[in-house]
């Protein structure tokens, strides 16, 4: 039947479709990032094609990886994890699949508009009005679906991951709707204040909260160990709820916005160390005595790498938000490195772990090749380290340039080698992602006979 083909009712189909879409958009998004990175090394590589000029690639890159890859992947993972934690089925697979189509429509629209420069001109909120409304609708339906699933749960207690997921699905739709400023034109600096409330909270109230929720889900399962402490996990949750949301203004700490707002932002940024350290203590204590499993268990390796990067990002963050460090580092590639550390290093890795863990359990088919998973890991991990290193060094050179009044033309020449390294790292990461996609394709679309050894995975699980 047509309805079943388009809006399937099969269990797990919404999660699966979301994850596959996420992988698809990740390749387009990361590919655009890679191309943009190449253009820093070879500025005349592409000429006279407006769609491929760096700023247009950048808009698409950011939206594709944030709204396409990470967000869709997150929703897919939640559609899988929430029912398993609530020991029930997803409230409505049909609604889930409907959202999946809506979200993919948004991404197609985003691709067509952003690449042509049709933008609202607000960083992280570039999407036009129609797409904004569609995303808002999609978010609300997702929230409804997940909340109803939890309401119908068969267990009494809510595991921490559910707290994080439910929190995120309450926060993020609101943050999104407020932050897009779709139908309002605020005076310049107020626009910036709301803009950074959004720009930071898409990270704080969505990527972090869902990401940490997934870590809480995955680590105990992958290691077969109970969570170290429930008290700590709740402390971390409330810490994030209290201190994450007001930090946005630390992105415009040196602009003429009110000092009291800056003070709130700086103080709560520093306080963020509290939830982050509680969360990580919890993870590392859970891992105690299990570290050797990282050698053989690939999803676990992705997850642990993600936790390590989380530690680095979240110590960098508060440090950068203080006035003096910000004075020195702001405006430079250091910050770009930090952003990649959060979204690529931390949250991409945990999402990848969730997919490697979850997809076989959703579809009943084991991964086509373990070797390719390893290749993916090493390309992504080493590529990312290279990217982080080159961006950080480039950022320090730029900072010194700004602080000592060296003209752009001069330090611009000094950082060319690092642009080169960054381009190489981009190629590695995209290659890794392509391998990932190929592996997923092979696992799902080889004839059933060949997928016989999927059973072994089921048994192991």
């Amino acid at each position: 039947m047509l309805l079943d083909a388009v809006l399937s009712n099969r269990e797990g189909s919404a999660a699966r479709n979301f994850i596959l879409s996420a992988i698809w958009w990740s390749i387009l998004g990361m590919g655009a990032g890679m191309l943009g990175g190449l253009e820093f090394s070879m500025p005349d590589l592409i000429h006279n094609i407006p769609q491929l000029s760096f700023p247009h690639l950048r808009m698409w890159h950011v939206n594709a990886v944030a709204i396409g890859w990470l967000s869709m992947g997150y929703v897919g993972a939640m559609y899988y994890m929430v029912p398993s934690l609530a020991k029930t089925k997803l409230w409505s697979e049909r609604l889930g699949n409907f959202t999946m189509w809506a979200w993919n429509a948004v991404m197609v629209g985003a691709f067509c508009t952003l690449i042509n420069g049709s933008t609202e001109g607000r960083e992280y909120a570039e999407l036009g009005a129609v797409l904004d409304v569609l995303v808002a609708i999609a978010l609300v339906t997702i929230a409804a679906n997940v909340y109803m699933t939890v309401v119908n749960r068969k267990v009494k207690k809510l595991y921490v991951s559910l707290w994080y997921f439910l929190g995120a699905l309450f926060w993020f739709p609101l943050v999104y709707i407020i932050g897009q400023r779709t139908f309002v034109a605020l005076p310049g600096l107020n626009d910036a204040i709301v803009g950074w409330f959004y720009g930071h909270n898409i990270l704080g109230m969505w990527f972090t909260t869902v990401g940490v929720g997934m870590m809480y889900y995955l680590l105990p399962r992958l290691t077969n160990a109970p969570l170290y402490s429930h008290g700590l996990s709740m402390l971390g949750f409330w810490g994030i709820a209290l201190f994450y949301a007001p930090t946005g203004t630390h992105h415009i700490l040196q602009s003429p916005v009110p000092e009291w707002l800056k003070a709130i932002a700086v103080i709560s940024s520093v306080f963020l160390l509290v939830p982050v350290l509680t969360v990580l203590t919890n993870f590392f204590m859970t891992m105690k005595g299990k570290w050797q499993q990282v050698v053989t268990d690939m999803p676990l390796r992705f997850a642990v790498t993600s936790c390590m990067f989380y530690l680095v990002t979240c110590t960098q963050g508060p440090f950068q938000a203080t006035r003096w460090v910000n004075w020195y580092l702001h405006f430079t590639q250091w910050v770009v490195g930090h952003a990649h550390l959060a979204l690529l290093g931390t949250f991409s890795f945990i999402l990848t772990s969730a997919i490697y863990y979850g997809l076989p359990r959703i579809t009943g088919r084991d991964w086509h090749s373990q070797g390719l998973i390893r290749a993916h890991y090493w390309l992504k991990f080493l590529g990312f380290l290279l990217m982080m290193l080159s961006l950080t060094i480039a950022g320090l050179i730029q900072s010194a340039g700004w602080a000592f009044g060296v003209p752009v033309d001069q330090w611009g020449l000094q950082i060319r080698p690092y642009w080169g390294l960054r381009a190489v790292s981009g190629v590695m990461i995209v290659l890794g992602q392509c391998i990932f996609a190929y592996n997923a394709f092979k696992s799902l679309y080889t004839p059933a006979a060949k997928a016989a050894d999927a059973k072994t995975a089921e048994v192991k699980a």
Partner: protein, 306 residues
């Protein structure tokens, strides 16, 4: 179940408190009045800078260029104030500086240069990594250049540097010294010789002995330019110094009355003819300075070789 209800209420309340504090409150409390120094987009037959701004947004220049100057940015023109941005929406403050800050870019280069730079940055700036925007139509290009040329057009130094409001409203009304009288100027002379001459020179020409070692030279008060300074502004400069230079903040060292005497003295300094040099051979050629040869002992006093 009740436990969770409490948690949910907690989350909703904290979140709405935070939204009120950081999103709604700034909109209520923070309404900068237009400063009159923001960018002014005047349309002409040839260019439409307001449309140029849309092109700037469309082409995403703000991913590489910022539009706010900071205290520590050297050579990027006057600092911005909150009131400069009232009409700037969507804001183009920017977050990364892969290229220079463009706050006061207007008038820095001829329009032809800007156009050539946009078409092929490397033709006019070898080694630049700015992308080429040669795909822009002629009209787009002209409007964009028109926009670039208006950036900071109202932020000229004459219009911008003003003493903060309290100097006009608080200090000036309670001034006890007649800053136009010879007596006050005479009283100021002594204070000047003691505190300022080492840098600004006995005649106020900015050539005191300390000036040799200063990167940013002390002001020469005999320039015609300083004859336009109002009292409050002199007083402000003497009180708060000049950020980014070695000019001290004298409000911590001298009393208010002493500073007003100084103002009287500074105003009484004679005005020099400003010399404009437009030919090379008019330049005062300075002979080369020969440094004295140091003996080994002077060179390394600690080597114990007496």
């Amino acid at each position: 179940m009740n436990g969770y209800r409490l948690g949910a209420i907690g989350i909703v309340i904290t979140f709405f408190t935070i939204i009120t504090a950081t999103v709604l409150l700034p909109m209520v409390l923070f309404n900068p009045v237009p400063s009159g120094h923001g960018n002014k987009y005047v349309k002409s037959d040839v260019v439409n800078p307001a449309r140029g701004r849309q092109i700037y947004v469309r082409e995403g220049c703000f991913y590489c260029h910022t539009q706010f100057t900071r205290l520590q940015d050297r050579g990027y023109g006057p600092l911005v104030k909150a009131g400069d941005y009232v009409w700037e929406t969507p804001h183009q403050l920017g977050t990364a500086r892969t290229g220079p800050d463009l706050t006061n870019e207007g008038g820095r280069f001829p329009s032809e240069w800007q156009k050539a730079h946009l078409i092929n940055p490397r033709a006019v700036k070898p080694g630049s990594i700015m992308p080429s925007f040669s795909h822009l139509s002629n009209r787009d290009m002209n409007d964009l250049v028109g926009y670039i040329q208006t950036l900071g057009n109202q932020r000229t130094v004459h219009a911008y540097v003003e003493a903060p409001a309290e100097y006009e409203q608080v200090y000036l009304p309670r001034k006890t010294v007649d800053t136009n009288s010879d007596a006050a100027a005479n009283a100021g002379r002594g204070i000047y010789t003691q505190n300022c001459a080492a840098c600004h020179g006995l005649e106020g020409e900015g050539n005191g002995p300390n000036s040799i070692s200063l990167e940013k030279k002390p002001a020469n008060f005999t320039r015609a330019f300083y004859k336009q300074y109002p009292d409050a502004f002199w007083f402000y400069r003497v009180s708060e110094g000049v950020a980014g230079t070695r000019m001290p903040r004298f409000n911590e060292i001298l009393t208010e009355e002493e500073r007003w005497y100084l103002v009287a003295y500074l105003k009484s300094l004679p005005q020099n003819q400003e010399i404009v040099i437009d030919k090379l051979d008019q330049l005062n050629k300075v002979g080369q300075v020969h440094l004295p040869k140091l003996t080994e002992q002077e060179w390394e006093p600690h080597s114990g070789g007496n």
